[in-house]
């Protein structure tokens, strides 16, 4: 068994770095910030040894800009940050959405707003991860709740970014980022290369829907010339104000995600077969919810758990079913209630949806959840 597949104690942030390396990351740019630093510090040592590039930039705006440039140059590229840095990155995240440039942005959430609590957990950025950049846009946001999931989700994030030419955000929290637990990493998978166009350079259009919902992206320097802009653009990438060019582009931008919801959305469930109460959780509160679930089951209470590994696009179909499946839905979060709003929207009043919240830098306690089961 290779050394890195033996059971060992590993930290969430370390598993993200391992996942990025397994996914074939070729470029990382970042700016130091707690509680995401271990990701940079590990990649700064490991990535150059694999022939990749590590850059410490002057700030987070430059970091995401460098990542976008590197991706256009053909590298699988990522950056990691926390709340304050994530705010700075928003404008360029929108640029990557509009120009359809794959990249991975890791946000290890700490308590906010503003500088908040650099070393304490929070899930305050859930809506920011969805709507932080301006303008109507799709996005993919994934969320791990354990160290092994940090590894697997990072691997998946790189693949989804490439497959759908979109920024993928890994929304972690300080608990999961700093949590150390026993893991056994699976053997590495083969990295799928970016698909190449089948046409000669003069016939290549990077935004042409005739080439499919996700037209292939040619790396710079391979002899294919095209234009990249954040302005509304035509199939060649040049700015346009023609509605008949803008509308189909906008339609495709959303449709490439909407039509592939099943591929993108990952939801795990546990003990839902006979559940009367469903706990819907993501990130560190999954751990609180599972603990509560086990205690409740020991007392014969029919409690189940829905774990959201994909936050955006929101797993509407599965959550909507809860409106007919259980009597009550509980949503634990380390914020004042963000994802609970989505659950309420989708359940649409058919069943009570109750948030259980904790702010101030502590995990939701399993007992907070158990109290709600009594109510």
């Amino acid at each position: 068994m290779p050394d890195n597949q033996k059971p060992r104690l590993m930290q969430g942030n370390e598993a993200v770095a391992e996942g990025a390396l397994a996914a074939g990351i070729g470029f990382y740019a970042g700016y130091p910030i707690s509680p995401a630093n271990e990701i940079s510090s590990i990649l700064s040592a490991r990535l150059p040894r694999k022939g990749g590039i590590f850059l410490q930039m002057e700030d987070e705006i430059a970091s995401i800009a460098a990542v976008i440039g590197a991706s256009l140059g053909g590298a699988r590229a990522a950056t990691a940050t926390s709340g304050p840095g994530f705010s700075l990155m928003q404008e360029n995240i929108g640029y990557a959405v509009a120009a359809e440039i794959p990249c991975v942005v890791i946000n290890v959430q700490r308590a906010g707003p503003s500088t908040g609590q650099p070393t304490s957990p929070s899930q305050g950025d859930v809506m920011q991860s969805r709507w932080g950049t301006h303008g109507d846009h799709p996005i993919i946001v994934l969320c791990p709740s354990s160290v092994i999931e940090c590894y697997l989700i990072t691997l998946r994030a790189f693949n989804l970014a490439e497959k759908y030419r979109i920024p993928v955000i890994i929304l972690m929290d300080e608990v999961v980022g700093h949590l150390r637990e026993r893991v056994e990493l699976p053997p590495p998978e083969e990295v799928v290369a970016r698909p190449k166009p089948t046409v000669p350079p003069e016939w290549y259009f990077p935004y042409d829907e005739a080439a499919g919902l996700v037209p292939p992206l040619v790396s710079f320097g391979e002899g294919y010339r095209y234009h990249v802009t954040g302005l509304y653009h035509d199939i060649a990438g040049f700015p346009t104000q023609r509605e008949d060019e803008i509308e189909p582009w906008f339609e495709r931008l959303f449709e490439k995600i909407e039509a592939n919801r099943e591929d993108i959305i990952q939801v795990d469930e546990e003990a839902m077969e006979d559940a009367e109460v469903a706990l819907v959780a993501y990130g560190a509160p999954v751990r609180s919810a599972r603990h509560a679930l086990r205690l409740a089951r020991e007392e014969g209470k029919a409690v189940g758990l829905i774990k959201l590994l994909t936050l955006w696009p929101f797993p509407e179909a599965r959550i909507a079913k809860l409106g007919h499946q259980v009597k009550k839905i509980i949503v634990p979060e380390m914020n004042r209630g963000q994802m609970v709003l989505e659950v309420q929207r989708v359940v649409a009043g058919r069943r009570p949806v109750i948030g259980v919240n904790r702010v101030g830098g502590q995990m939701v306690s399993p007992y907070q959840i158990l109290e709600l089961l009594e109510a």
């Binding site: 070393t119 608990v175 026993r182």
Partner: protein, 185 residues
């Protein structure tokens, strides 16, 4: 539900209690058990309240934070004041007899941890290793063999020998505790 053994190592930043938690959790994994380790600290490198929490279990560990402490190591008055009330009735509270002046409670064991580190390793900086030796001596949650391996792997070059001495001094110190005080051992 699988049994959980919950350890809280609390004190001041710079005392090495986050590293001690890491070593304890790594040793548990070497023993073939499950373990989680979390940490809580301020933005400063030294000083300020800091603690780590280690959960050890033969089964899955969902909630990775302490709910009811089996073993508290408190190396500052603030740490003792903050955490002693979370200790189980049959749990152990291990403190330094000088650093923590106001102390009382069931399961309290006050020992000269820092002094022992100075005597064994020539520096109070090895107090965390003395604490690990005491944990090994007072409980059976991890094997000495696994702790030796984990300490060696985590000791910076040049500190391995002094860390081993400090660990052994802590382990020997535990033998001076009456069996009754060891409780869950």
């Amino acid at each position: 539900m699988a049994s959980r053994f919950e350890v809280c190592l609390a004190g001041q930043g710079g005392q090495g209690l986050i590293l001690a938690g890491l070593i304890l959790a790594e040793a548990a994994v070497l023993d073939g058990k499950n373990a989680t380790m979390t940490q809580s600290y301020g933005a400063e490198q030294r000083g300020g309240a800091s603690h780590s929490e280690v959960i050890i279990s033969d089964g899955d560990i969902d909630y990775p934070r302490v709910l009811k402490t089996d073993l508290l190591v408190a190396l500052s008055q603030e740490a003792f004041d903050n955490f002693h009330h979370e200790v189980k009735k049959e749990g152990i509270i291990l403190t330094d007899s000088h650093l923590v002046e106001k102390k009382s409670g069931d399961g309290l064991i006050a020992l000269p941890i820092v002094e022992t580190a100075k005597g064994a390793a020539g520096s109070g900086a090895a107090s965390n290793m003395v604490a690990l030796g005491l944990i090994a001596g007072l409980t059976k949650i991890v094997s000495c063999k696994a702790l030796h391996k984990a300490i060696d792997a985590r000791s910076p070059r040049g500190t391995q020998r002094s860390n081993r001495w400090a660990f052994k001094a802590g382990f020997d110190l535990a033998k001076t505790i009456s069996p009754k005080a060891k409780r869950k051992a």
